[in-house]
């Protein structure tokens, strides 16, 4: 099952597509083409996601369009409309358009903000639209039919356990954090929570680098000035890991043994696969592919007239050289 996992980044979910689909659809999986027998003649599915403003959301958009292309081809009676928004207000407007103009009957939404989108989604649900919420739960869960999310706790826990094990419970760590958000806090608390059990593992400091390569470069430079003996840098994101590596290279520091990113971007996974950088040996999955999974699960369930389980958490998995191949998607932009 872990083989099926996928991964990715800040938002979410990564894994378990096939498994997810199997669990979700249960016995009805058997005949994807016979689906029309159960449900409405056609399914109009709306997909509302953030616009591609950085690597991860770029991946979201790419995977959403990938799902549209594949599913519409497989099911002639399925119509998918993908809308991208650059902020919560725009997303709320698009949602209205999807319901009133496009007349969707199912919705997969990746909300910008939980609170701001709860009412607009509730309005859609009142018009009998089947709602799957992805990644960020709404403040009022009764506005959603299904919730699919990634595992942010595992995003912090897995690297912590990996480091503790690899370094036999003894290491000096510096950490980068993303942007101050609950998501970042969850990861940070999970990470520090595990390492508290190891008295010889010291987290020297953790600073925000905003999920940004340049900020990560600067913060790492300063960490390197400040701490003379570092074993591991928890970059907590593959983009940030990129800046970290450049800073270490510039400072010609040899004490650092490993840089642990996060999300499983294709460049990082490729590096692990090829073993081309001794500092990069593992990563944790958290892939934008979750949006593909969510669309596929929702579309197939609706075509059959099924419902999805109320909550589905896509697990994050540890990526190492042994399993990296399953996490490598060369065509995805992320």
């Amino acid at each position: 099952m872990s083989e099926v996992a996928r991964y990715s980044r800040r938002l979410v979910l990564g894994a378990g597509v096939a498994m997810a689909a199997t669990v979700a659809l249960g016995c009805s999986l058997g005949g994807p083409l016979g689906s029309a027998a159960f449900a409405a003649d056609t399914v109009k599915l709306g997909v509302s996601i953030p616009a591609a403003t950085h690597g991860f959301t770029g991946g979201i958009v790419w995977w959403a369009n990938q799902a549209k292309a594949e599913l519409e081809k497989a099911h002639p009676n399925l119509k998918i409309t993908v809308k991208t928004a650059s902020g919560a207000p725009e997303q709320a407007n698009q949602l209205q358009d999807l319901v009133t103009v496009t007349k969707i009957d199912s919705l997969v939404i990746f909300p910008f903000e939980s609170a701001a989108l709860t009412q607009p989604v509730m309005q859609a649900k009142k018009k009998n639209v089947y709602v799957t919420v992805v990644d960020r739960g709404l403040t009022d869960p009764s506005a959603q039919d299904a919730y699919i999310a990634g595992d942010n706790t595992a995003f912090g826990r897995i690297p912590a356990e990996y480091i503790a094990k690899t370094y036999n419970g003894k290491a000096n760590i510096v950490a980068l954090r993303g942007i101050p958000t609950t998501l970042d806090n969850e990861r940070w608390e999970a990470f520090t929570g595990v390492l508290k059990q190891y008295p010889d593992i010291k987290i020297l400091d953790g600073k925000y680098a905003n999920w940004n390569r340049d900020d990560a470069f600067k913060v790492t430079q300063d960490f390197l000035t400040r701490f003379k003996d570092i074993d591991v840098v928890w970059a907590a994101d593959d983009d940030m890991a990129f800046g970290v590596l450049k800073a270490i290279e510039q400072a010609k520091r040899t004490d650092i043994k490993e840089v642990f990113g996060g999300a499983g971007s294709k460049t990082m996974v490729k590096t692990i696969l090829d073993g081309s950088n001794p500092l990069i040996r593992a990563d944790v999955s958290y892939s934008p592919k979750f949006i593909y999974d969510a669309i596929k699960m929702t579309a197939e369930a609706r075509l059959k007239g099924d419902r999805l389980p109320a909550t589905h958490i896509i697990p994050s998995a540890l990526i190492t050289k042994e399993n990296a191949k399953e996490f490598y998607f060369p065509d995805s932009p992320y």
């Binding site: 591609a52 403003t53 950085h54 690597g55 959301t57 770029g58 991946g59 958009v61 790419w62 954090r177 101050p180 400091d205 953790g206 600073k207 925000y208 905003n210 999920w211 940004n212 390569r213 340049d214 470069f217 600067k218 913060v219 430079q221 300063d222 960490f223 000035t225 400040r226 983009d239 990129f242 800046g243 450049k246 510039q250 460049t267 932009p333 992320y334």
Partner: protein, 324 residues
């Protein structure tokens, strides 16, 4: 003239940014002895070079009474454009050094071109600079995001190796970007204070109508200030690209605010008419020293970093305030 100059010399407010920077340096050294090391100071100056060079161009634009909000997005688009061009040329042009040289030339031309386009829309199009550059802020970044497919545009490895020394190399122990920053500062200072162009820029900023009546070709001078800023953004990008060898939609994010803050903290009037290149340079250094100190210590919660920066900026602006 010389009387006015010496009178200003005794104005303590003129030295606000310097005093602010000195205080920060003392605080930094007291908090962490590693702060005062040569390596750390060079790190700080090197990373200041991008914003610093852009600030010098921005200083001219602000003195002339204009503004450019697009510089961060422009830098990102130039970075993406030059990387794509260099990758494409790598096959047909033999030497990586030649490819990099062409890429650098392209970056400067593109920057100058974007700047002149702004100037043209502002002077001939009669559109407010705020609106023109707010528009291009969105356009440039969106174009980069589109070119990058939402991800990152990355320079080929061979080229990266050839280009690396432009950021990572040093001359006489001082990193290349710091030299370039120094040269641009000196050139900017001479241009502003010792040439007719510099006087026209200041004249237009103090009173555009009067400048017009004094037969200054206002449109042309304004056009050139934006072109100059564009070239500065090009230079900054040329230094930026070899650092990470990539451009992504987060490249240059909020650089415009940092550049504008450096100019204003450095004692240039936001209303135009008067400004200082030396102050701008100090302003830019001061802004990066703040975050450097915050990174080197952990006495303040990371949640409050931005608040500390805000307090220092306001305090320094207060030190250099003008008398009514």
């Amino acid at each position: 003239m010389s009387a006015a100059r010496s009178a200003r010399r005794f104005d303590p407010h003129r030295f606000g940014p310097v005093v602010g920077l000195l205080l920060l340096l003392i605080v930094g050294t007291a908090l962490n002895p590693d702060f005062a090391t040569w390596d750390n100071l060079m790190n700080v100056l090197t990373r200041t070079a991008f914003i610093g060079i852009i600030s010098i161009g921005m200083c001219f634009v602000i003195i002339s009474g204009g503004i450019d909000l697009s510089v961060g997005s422009m830098a990102a688009l130039i970075a993406g454009g030059m990387i794509l061009l260099m990758n494409a040329l790598a096959g047909s042009v033999g030497s990586p050094v030649a490819v990099v040289a062409l890429g650098m030339l392209f970056a400067l031309l593109l920057g100058g071109g974007f700047g002149l386009a702004h100037g043209y829309l502002i002077t001939r199009g009669r559109i407010e600079p705020f609106i023109v550059t707010l528009g291009t802020l969105g356009i440039f970044r969106a174009l980069l995001t589109w070119l990058a497919d939402g991800g990152a545009i990355t320079l080929d490895n061979d080229l990266s190796d050839a280009y690396g020394p432009v950021y990572y190399g040093s001359l006489l122990g001082i990193p290349v970007p710091v030299w370039v920053f120094l040269l641009v500062s000196v050139a900017g200072g001479i241009l502003l204070n010792r040439t007719a162009f510099g006087r026209y820029v200041q004249a237009i900023g103090s009173n555009e109508q009067v400048a017009r009546f004094a037969a200054v070709d206002v449109d042309r001078v304004k056009l050139l200030t934006y072109g100059l800023l564009g070239v500065c953004v090009g230079i900054a990008t040329v230094l930026y690209v070899p650092r990470l060898g990539s451009a992504s939609p987060t490249t240059g994010l909020l650089w415009e605010l940092e550049a504008i803050a450096a100019v204003i903290v450095g004692g240039t009037s936001f209303k135009g008419g008067e400004g200082r290149i030396a102050g701008t340079v100090i302003g830019a250094v001061l802004l990066s020293v703040i975050s450097n100190i915050l990174n080197l210590t952990s006495i303040i919660s990371v949640y409050l970093n931005a608040a500390v920066q805000g307090c220092v900026i306001i305090a320094v602006a207060f030190l250099q305030r003008r008398r009514p």
